[in-house]
């Protein structure tokens, strides 16, 4: 018998996040360690009359390939990859791992090379998503490796994940639906802003967002969720930013990243650890040193940093930005094989100004800008 919260999670993802209907072909991808969630998702997809196909991954195989593959093998895009992307109506990606450092000592150039090869698939994915043809949701299964990165026992980490997803609430779907209404209003308000300025310790960054679309992330594409995001104007980011939380990608942790932008592009990047990796990632392709996303985290049930971007970027009172590919539905035109989210904590002393006016201070929107509470439901 699975944890009842896991059963509910699968019901919310299939019923609320993806609104699956009869005949939808749903590709569910996730590691074998997430088996209980993969099974529940299969059940929930079937109950909605949709057609699940489960793609299981195993720790260890990726590393074996990446450490041995020639350039030709890394560059090779399987002939079926685009075909698969065309055929599915929805995709659920379950994050989980036996060891989050599995790829820690793999040559970053090999990882980057394979990502570049898969770029047509990522681009087609984003196009179909923007056109409303493909729904998708990224979620996470509480596993030991993630718990360990968060300095928690598995039980404590399970409680963290399920409370971040409001699965203890009497009616989680109702809670997410009403949160969605408020987030939609917030996104509309943000749509009127031309320039944002982020101020906090070692940070004074200006981001141009005029004419770009703000998207309320309300539990549909990520679960759990809670952010409002856009794609900044590619040439207008100016200033410097320091990311207080370590940014993990590809099994590596890069600490204390500081970036300086001029005319939209990173002109200087430093990190207390992992600087070489940072440099390689930013040099991956032309779009890798340009912001593809700017966002504000609004899930106030997520309070602590856990080294999983899915959760960290949602922490109520933080902002984050991603270098690399932007989402076309925000109006972003930046393309890259990279999409690397970095989180900046604004909860003590941080401020966001919109066209010169403060709208957000110490982790909360100011009532003068947005008066509705974004607090999670009582458990």
């Amino acid at each position: 018998m699975n944890d009842p919260r896991l059963v509910t999670m699968a019901d919310v993802i299939t019923g609320y996040s993806l609104r699956l209907g009869e005949g939808d072909v749903v590709l569910i991808g996730g590691p074998a360690v997430a088996e209980p969630l993969l099974v529940e998702l299969t059940r929930a997809v079937l109950e909605r009359g949709a057609v699940p196909r489960v793609r299981v991954t195993l720790d260890g195989l990726d590393r074996a390939f990446l450490t041995r593959a020639s350039d030709a093998q890394l560059d090779w895009l399987p002939p079926y990859a685009l075909d698969e992307m065309e055929t599915i109506a929805a995709r659920i990606t379950v994050h989980g791992s036996c060891n989050t450092r599995e790829l820690a000592n793999v040559d970053p150039a090999a990882i980057a090379r394979r990502s570049s090869a898969a770029r047509p698939v990522l681009e087609r994915f984003m196009q179909r998503s923007a056109a409303g043809e493909l729904r998708w949701c990224v979620t996470a299964f509480p596993c030991d490796a993630f718990a360990q990165d968060s300095d928690m026992s598995l039980t404590d980490y399970e409680n963290f994940v399920y409370s971040a997803a409001w699965l203890d609430a009497p009616d989680p779907i109702a809670a997410w639906t009403s949160f969605g209404v408020r987030m939609t209003e917030l996104a509309e308000l943000m749509g009127g802003v031309r320039t944002l300025r982020v101020l906090t310790e070692d940070t004074d960054l200006t981001v141009g967002v005029a004419g770009r679309t703000w998207i309320p992330a309300k539990g549909d594409r990520n679960f759990p969720d809670g952010e409002v995001f856009t794609g900044p104007i590619e040439t207008e980011t100016e200033g410097h930013v320091r990311f207080s939380f370590p940014a993990a990608i590809g099994g590596r942790e890069v600490r204390d990243i500081r970036l300086r932008f001029e005319r939209g592009r990173v002109v200087a990047g430093e990190a207390a650890s992992g600087q070489e990796y940072l440099r390689q990632m930013l040099a991956m392709d032309d779009g890798a040193s340009v912001l593809g996303e700017f966002a504000i985290g609004t899930n106030y049930a997520v309070k602590q940093f856990t080294k999983q971007v899915l959760f960290d970027e949602k922490i109520g009172g933080t902002c984050h930005m991603a270098v690399g590919a932007g989402y076309p539905d925000t109006g972003s035109t930046n393309t890259s094989a990279l999409h690397w989210d970095m989180v900046c904590d604004l909860r003590s002393g941080g401020e966001i100004q919109a066209d010169g006016e403060p709208i957000f201070r110490d982790g909360r929107f100011l009532p003068s800008f947005f008066a509705h509470p974004l607090d999670p439901p009582a458990g």
């Binding site: 005949g23 072909v25 590709l27 074998a32 088996e35 993969l38 099974v39 299969t42 059940r43 079937l46 109950e47 009359g49 057609v51 699940p52 196909r53 489960v54 793609r55 299981v56 991954t57 195993l58 720790d59 260890g60 195989l61 074996a64 390939f65 041995r68 593959a69 020639s70 030709a72 093998q73 090779w76 399987p78 002939p79 079926y80 075909d83 698969e84 065309e86 055929t87 599915i88």
Partner: protein, 370 residues
């Protein structure tokens, strides 16, 4: 060295599968499918496939997910064949199935009709794979990966079962590939002799069966399509079988135990069947279609490393010194014409008191070709 090291026998198994069975070469797209618990073998395969310049496409499965699919799917969902399913049979230039289970009875809660329905829906995929294989566009091999569930069915510890499986594949030999090449030549020579015969008469305990194999081709199962392997087989003229045969080993078919089976044939057809256990299931299987009561295969096991029955047909049918027949579907490539949804192999032990006559002459006695 301290800690987990890969079982060298698995490394060798991956080598034999890639270099001998499938002959993987640069640029091949190699599908590897099997249960997630076979991760250690999958890992060795990814290494070997990548080293050979080919592209691994690994599709691990979970019994829990499959059981959920087979239990909860509606008829419409069971009938759906998606593009994702088609890709798996249309694209790979090499296909490897790994056979292992967490629990060999994992589908026991799924209704029989659901399994049959899904099997019917995916038949075009199966046929497409066979077609591509016949056209030389792809090659397929199925291999056993030693796991607790099969060990349990065989009445062994996992360590003993591993020793057995790896020995059956001759993976302890200094050069397993050299062994299989030699075994292949040995089997081909026997097949060559058998192909000159018209009538085979098998005489053993509870058994006096005559089958007509005149003009049929004997095929050499030498580790390329099954691993481990070791048999030669053909499809008899299915309306000419007569006599009786008693099977020696308990067998699990689709997770159901059937023991002590005896069959009586007239004009090729099973006219009477008995079983000490599972006779109802046996009867249902035989009555599923017209071809199910006729033989689709007659074969000799030639793997001398396999000595005792395991309740797993992959191994039992290869025991050196046994013969087996299969009810149902015949092999067109052997010249067989019987058609059925069934193909059920049953093994008859000839090692202690079995003789085989070819056109009246003794050609095989006590488990050995003369």
């Amino acid at each position: 060295m301290f800690g987990a090291v890969p079982d060298l026998r698995l490394t060798k198994l991956a080598e034999v599968l890639c270099r001998y069975s499938l002959e993987v070469s640069e640029g091949d797209l190699v599908l590897v499918e099997g249960p997630a618990l076979a991760q250690p073998l999958m890992l060795e395969l990814v290494k070997t496939i990548t080293d050979l310049g080919a592209h691994p496409m690994v599709r691990p499965s979970l019994e829990s997910v499959e059981a959920m699919m087979m239990t909860r799917s509606s008829l419409a969902q069971l009938d759906t064949v998606t593009r994702l399913d088609e890709i798996e049979v249309e694209m790979p230039t090499r296909m490897l199935s790994i056979w292992a289970n967490r629990n060999t009875r994992y589908l026991s809660g799924a209704p029989d009709q659901n399994l049959a329905r899904r099997s019917a829906a995916t038949r075009p995929l199966f046929e497409r794979a066979i077609e591509r294989e016949a056209a030389g566009e792809t090659r397929w091999c199925g291999t056993a990966y030693p796991c607790h569930a099969a060990a349990q069915d065989a009445g062994m510890s996992l360590a003993e079962w591993e020793d057995f499986v790896f020995a059956a594949g001759h993976l302890l030999d200094a050069d397993p590939i050299a062994f299989w090449r030699k075994q292949s030549r040995h089997q081909a020579a026997i097949a060559e002799r058998l192909s000159k015969l018209t009538e085979l008469r098998i005489v053993a305990e509870n058994t006096d069966l005559t089958v007509n194999v005149g003009g049929r081709s004997w095929l050499n199962a030498d580790g390329r399509q099954n691993f481990p392997d070791g048999e030669i087989y053909t499809s008899p003229l299915h309306t000419e079988t007569r006599g009786t045969i008693g099977f020696s080993f308990d067998a699990a078919f689709n997770g159901r135990d059937v023991c002590g089976v005896r069959l009586w044939f007239e004009d090729g057809r099973v006219v009477r069947e008995e079983a000490e256990r599972g006779v109802e299931y046996l009867r249902q299987m035989l009555d599923q279609d017209e071809g199910a009561r006729y033989l689709g295969e007659v074969a000799f096991g030639l793997n001398d490393e396999i000595q005792s029955a395991t309740r797993d047909t992959l191994f039992d049918e290869k025991i050196g010194g046994t013969c087996h027949v299969a009810l149902g579907m015949a092999f067109p490539e052997a010249g067989g014409t019987n058609r059925s949804g069934l193909h059920w192999d049953m093994v008859c032990d000839l090692r202690s008191a079995g003789d085989v006559y070819g056109d009246g002459e003794l050609i095989f006695s006590r488990g050995r070709f003369l």
